[in-house]
């Protein structure tokens, strides 16, 4: 019985986190936010950072600070357009507070094969925020914005 209960707890925690992110995203007017990484995969472990895809804007960092403060977790933001199209974060995103999906180009005809060598796990064209590009797509260096988790109980001071 432990596993279903754990799954239910994770789902509840994820729903709460999504609601919090969406609320803060509206408050800080940052448009579409994608929750990805461990939370989107529902393998979240306590103490790990919240991974977000956020289109850069002036309000992104204040938003991340507010989220870190409210959730007690570190927050790492990445620009979806500079995240290499091969990055696994692209393939498991919960888009929240959807304004419009950021469009990320990928080399025309590229496919993703699964780790087990099965022919095709998913076609990039099946992912709404990918758009085929003619030719090579330059992957910009990753430069995530990182907001550390607040110190334990610092709000009491």
């Amino acid at each position: 019985m432990a596993a279903p209960r754990k799954n239910a707890e994770l789902k509840q925690a994820l729903d709460q986190l999504c609601a919090l992110i969406a609320r803060l995203a509206r408050k800080y007017s940052i448009g579409t936010v994608g929750l990805t990484g461990i939370d989107a995969r529902r393998t979240s472990m306590a103490g790990e950072a919240v991974e977000l895809l956020v289109v850069p804007s002036k309000m992104a960092l204040p938003f991340a600070r507010a989220l870190s403060d409210a959730s007690g977790r570190a927050v790492r933001m990445r620009d979806p357009q500079t995240l290499p199209y091969t990055h696994p974060f692209h393939y498991c995103v919960r888009w929240l507070n959807v304004d419009r999906l950021p469009v990320c180009p990928f080399p025309r005809g590229a496919i993703l094969t699964s780790i087990n060598g099965a022919p095709t796990a998913i076609e990039l064209t099946a992912i709404p925020h990918f758009a085929p590009a003619m030719g090579y797509v330059r992957a910009a260096p990753l430069a995530p914005d990182f907001v550390p988790a607040p110190a334990l109980g610092s709000f009491l001071i």
């Binding site: 306590a46 103490g47 110190a151 334990l152 109980g153 610092s154 009491l156 001071i157």
Partner: protein, 306 residues
Amino acid sequence: MSLWTKTPMFSVHRGPVLIQTLATCLAARAFEETEFVTDDRGAAIAKLLGWPFTNISTALESWPTDGLGHIWALGKLVACAVQEQPFVQFDGDVMLFKALPKRVERFRLIAQSPDYAHYYTSPDMLAAQRIAGFPPAAPAFNGGLLGGNDVALVRAYAWAGLELAQKFRGSPLNGTTTSMLVEQYQLGVFAQRVGVEVGTLLPLHPTRKQVAKAGYAHLTGGAKRDPELIARAEQRLARDFPEAYVRFLAMWPQVEALTPRGGCEYASSNSSAEPTGHQLLHDLQGPTAPPSRVPSAHARKPAARR
């Protein structure tokens, strides 16, 4: 509380010392008896700043540290090893806004909270576990708060840690990795070996509500140097413990002078946006008496037993 000034990790900066001053004042309010285990320089700092401890011990002055100075957690273990009554040891960056709940006091071994498993999986940490002869993936505990009501058992844990540290004499592993192993990982291994449950004040990932209920803050790592947190701690010290704050302002230059590597990263960079200490007091309380008129210790009201 303990302070080991002989470890190379020790340095004096205004922000962390101010936070420790607030921590000592809060602890004196929460507990009936508080002891400070330190060395001669630490005792001098405590006396200058008027830290309100019931007793100051300099047990760390004579502690032999050849080749072990980098393991900064040994100061805490020595403090635990010399206790003779049930106690709880807390770090200098731990703020106890309330006494410990009874449910925690009942445990033979006490820690702040379970610690994150992934802190103990780095290659360095795995190497340290091999040197120690510990199994991987044992439970670890955050040692911001350490102690228990079975003082013999807590002392046995502390002595086991001090003994274990000998294996790391001259080791290339860094002091923080080794400290986490001999203090926090060792607590989990020790508790398993003796079959005793470690009671924790907080769960692994506490909610804001649980933290508020416990009245507990732990300003780990860089948080002690965060200007915003330092400013808030300064305001809290000035508001809740004005005598201690005025004394801190008056004595800080002498504390700095006591230490060869003394620094003042925060005070020296006070910009116009940051209130100065006396300005802050003035804003909070109106004109104040000059520092020289401040008594050496603040009054304490009776608190929970410990």
